[in-house]
Symmetry: C2
Subunit: 224 residues, 2 copies
DNA sequence: GCAAAAGTGTTCTGTCTACACCCATGT
DNA sequence: ACATGGGTGTAGACAGAACACTTTTGC
């Protein structure tokens, strides 16, 4: 039996999220050729023969942006036989979280940030893939520490709360939010403040991976 | 640019779970040829050119068992370049939940049930895939109604509790379990009993999809 | 009558929600 | 002095965990 089907390809599509300007943004490239020429599309590539899907995802990310410490996870595989008019392409979607100010887009890649709530028509089934990624992101935020992946190392409590409000699309009570974080004991006060605007300066915190791991091992989660 | 890489194949592997004899079981076939000849392996197949991954998963299931109303969902894609010694095969794993007594295994498929806690060495990376599926199953049970997929239409509360105890691998308090189910109001008393052994007969219930949907739309989940 | 599983409530504790005012700064 | 966001506590409702005895049946 010959396993190998010469008419099939495997691709990786990337849904890269960031939060900037008080809105959730996704990284899109512009199609330079048919099909879907000139439409926006997710960064993607056919995988190479000797790389894993994860490696392909990192490679694609490097092609469009210089970045570090990127959170990346596999999302879902999309397989409609005619999702790509050129032939049979099964694509494995990945989703990534980056800190807006730590990412330098590579100009010749044509990649730019788009607010998630003002997307135009996209190439292929990419609208569906983004929708799926968005649901996953919201779930992640609700019971993991994914939110810290969207902030720089030091952040204020208001910035952190903003991430939750922007991604989940709802207001959160300030006192309850802070009370819960204090109880979880996963933040460390840096002893510094952030001065900005004509108001009281805000304390800066860092996420304490060490304290978090102790909690996780006791099965404690993050219900926001 | 030619998209299609002639040296790659996409497969679907199935992790089919059931609960029987107070243990969690998984469906395995026996390899008839190299590689891994005579070892147990997950049911699998290369996908056809014009079927989706979901369709391939259903087709594989039909090849090994006659069954109905099977819960099926995509799990994860495994892609190590040398996971199959014959060539590059990216596999998309699916996981399925079936009611033991509603499944008729097809004899010539060599498929049989194996208790999850007494697995021998398996072909390919199938041990890893099963491990991943098991984690997903436990999560599913904790905040969805997946447990009902493992029981016949009518069941007793003790049978339902047994599913949770067997899959999660821990004892649950009978009174708390029943109190929560009563509060959730997703079960309907059939007005029948199950007589069995020398003890009081047990009431039979059915899962009320209708009541469940009303709850789910209010965002109410199932924390066991 | 006895073995075996079915069935049933209360108390305690911890967590979530709702809610309003003072503080520190820049202009 | 005023505008702006930073920072703080309490009370009530609800949900989870611990815990033991009575009921109904087959033999």
């Amino acid at each position: 039996m010959n396993l190998l089907n010469p008419k099939m390809a495997v691709a990786v599509d990337l849904v890269v999220f960031t939060v900037a300007a008080r809105s959730l943004q996704v990284l899109l490239t512009q199609r330079q050729e048919e099909p879907f020429k000139n439409l926006r599309a997710l960064p993607a590539s056919i995988i190479h023969l000797s790389e894993t899907l994860d490696e392909a995802a990192r490679r694609i990310l490097r092609m469009i942006a210089k970045s570090e410490n990127v959170y990346l996870e596999q999302l879902y595989s999309f397989s409609h036989p005619r999702r790509d008019p050129r032939g049979r392409v099964v694509t494995v979607a990945y989703f990534a979280l980056v800190k807006a100010e730590k990412v330098a887009l590579i100009p010749q890649s044509s990649a730019i940030w788009y607010p998630i709530d003002a997307l135009e028509k996209l190439a292929f089934d990419h609208q569906e893939i983004i929708q799926y990624a968005l649901e996953r992101l919201r779930n992640k935020l609700e019971y993991t520490t994914a939110a810290f992946q969207l902030l720089s190392q030091r952040f204020t409590l208001s910035e952190l709360q903003g991430i939750y409000e922007i991604v989940l699309g709802k207001k959160i009570d300030k006192r309850n939010f802070r009370k819960k974080l204090k109880a979880l004991n996963i933040l460390k006060d840096c002893g510094m403040v952030k001065r900005e605007g004509n108001h009281r300066p805000a304390r800066l915190y860092t996420f304490s991976e060490f304290r978090f791991i102790k909690l996780r091992d006791r099965g404690i989660l993050f219900p926001f």
